[in-house]
Amino acid sequence: MTTTLYTSDHEWLAIDGDVATVGITDYAQQQLGDVVFVELPKVGRSLKKAEAAAVVESVKAASDVYAPISGEVLEANAELASEPALVNSDAQGKAWFFKIRIADRSELGGLMDEAAYKAHTA
């Protein structure tokens, strides 16, 4: 059973046991426009909450994606390197960015559920 949580910086986290899959929300991709490049963290990197973890670039600009929680990077989505436009077509599905082992479950407490995130972007 997975639970999806959201950050105020427009990232989503699908929590499955002690692993979180992280991506950017559909709202975020709409704001960014056409994504042309994604830079992902290296597998094995230990991320601290709020540190720049990935970069997503549109034609116009580069934007940082921050680690929503602390933990070790277990996997990065190699498909995004060859097909960055997936972020526009399936932001909350195939275009996940990376998977992270949750280091401190108490950090999840500060995240939003879907209803709260919807209110945040309304």
Binding site: D34, V36, F37, E39, S58, K60, A81
Partner: protein, 381 residues
């Protein structure tokens, strides 16, 4: 997203149209301008290269220089005091790219100058238009009456279908060649039409009285080949075309020679020419022509897919060393599906194929000096 005080921003005569078309508005040079429409930058860019795009460039400055003598050549001679171009040689019905230079040989603004037979018509950058007007008044008022044409909008129609679309409203359009410019009726409206633009594509710029601008834009947009295009795609199109953006690729610290704009300075104004010198900064600019400049604007292509953007420092090696230059414009080229950039490097490192590195987020990414335009232009010569 940047919050901005919309009350302090100026609006072009096409503002309501941008809103009705779903334009995403951003502040640009003091104007509230569409950066993109719902189609998005990528589609707008590709549409302009394959069909036709309509751009609102009404924020740009339009000026008339009328000779007090009644002889347009006197206005041309006067303007030559401020630019290194041969203005006298611009035939009636033609236009030319030029730069206002300063005493240090730097560039105050770049502009288009057209000869309309009895006066000169100038188009200057939005951010510089007030200073340009003051500069013209301060230096040319003995010979010219300078008139800011604030009651005119400017619409660019660019792309391979531009001629066919405009021909429906302007019978003169198909016969025009690249850089032809003059008064023409478009849909019965008295306009100034030039066959030029800022995309590398064939196309037109249409100066239209403000009150008729929305009606004309709507008529052009009714054609299914025409989409409205925002500033985002305007920037990626001009970058692929290798065209300079004032304030980024050229400014008061760059001479026309450093900026690789030698082609725009005619022989008559260079050393040994019939009207050599006589423009601000001539000593430095002609020295650059005669002895070379130490740095040069070049095109840059990345080996990887990461865009290299404005401000990125350039290095000779993949580690260590001092920066040798800087990127002045860069991003993703949608027609090439690859990053493209331009920047300044030492002349010794400016040969095509020279390998360089750009620092992006702490990493040195390999680049090569590449020929511009990155995308072949399709001007109708």
């Amino acid at each position: 997203m940047l919050a901005h005080d919309q009350d302090s921003l100026k609006r072009t005569p096409l503002y309501d149209l941008h809103m009705s078309l779903g334009g995403k508005m951003v502040p640009f040079a003091g104007y509230d301008m569409p950066v993109q429409y719902p189609a998005g930058v990528l589609k707008e860019h590709v549409h302009t290269r394959t069909k036709a795009g309509l751009f609102d460039v009404s924020h740009m400055g339009q000026l008339a220089l009328r000779p007090k003598s009644g002889n347009v050549e006197d206005a041309a001679r006067a303007l030559e005091r401020l630019v290194p171009q041969d203005i006298v040689a611009i035939a009636a019905g033609r236009q030319r790219y030029a730069q206002f230079t300063n005493d240090d040989g730097g560039i105050l603004d770049d502009l288009m100058v057209a000869n309309f037979g009895d006066h000169l018509f100038l188009v200057v950058n939005a951010a510089c238009k007030a200073e340009d007007e003051a500069h013209l008044r301060g230096n040319l008022s003995d010979a010219c009456v300078i008139e800011q044409l604030a009651d005119r909008a400017l619409i660019a129609l660019q792309g391979p279908k531009a001629e066919a679309v405009l021909a429906k409203f302007c019978a003169d359009a198909p016969a025009m060649k690249f850089m032809d410019a003059g008064p023409h009726e478009v849909a019965g409206i008295k306009c100034f039409v030039s066959r030029s633009g800022y995309t590398g594509e064939d196309g037109f710029e249409i100066s239209v009285p403000s009150g008729d601008a929305e009606r004309l834009a709507k008529m052009l947009l009714e054609n299914s080949d025409v989409l409205p295009i925002g500033l985002g795609a305007r920037d990626s199109l001009r970058l692929e075309a290798g065209l300079c953006l004032y304030g980024h690729d050229i400014d008061t610290s760059t001479t026309p020679v450093e900026a690789a704009l030698e082609w725009s300075v005619q022989k008559s104004r260079r050393t040994g020419g019939t009207r050599a010198g006589g423009f601000p900064g001539a000593a430095k600019i002609l020295a650059h022509f005669d002895g070379g400049a130490s740095r040069r604007r070049v095109g840059l292509r990345a080996e990887g897919r990461a865009p290299v953007r404005e401000g990125a420092l350039l290095f000779a090696n993949d580690a260590g060393g001092e920066p040798i230059g800087q990127v002045t414009s860069g991003g993703f080229g949608p027609s090439l599906s690859a990053p493209v950039a331009m920047g300044y490097v030492p002349t010794a490192s400016s040969a095509l194929g020279t390998k360089l590195f750009a620092e992006v987020r702490g990493q040195r990414l390999p680049l090569q000096v590449a020929a511009m335009p990155f995308v072949k232009n399709t001007y109708k010569r």
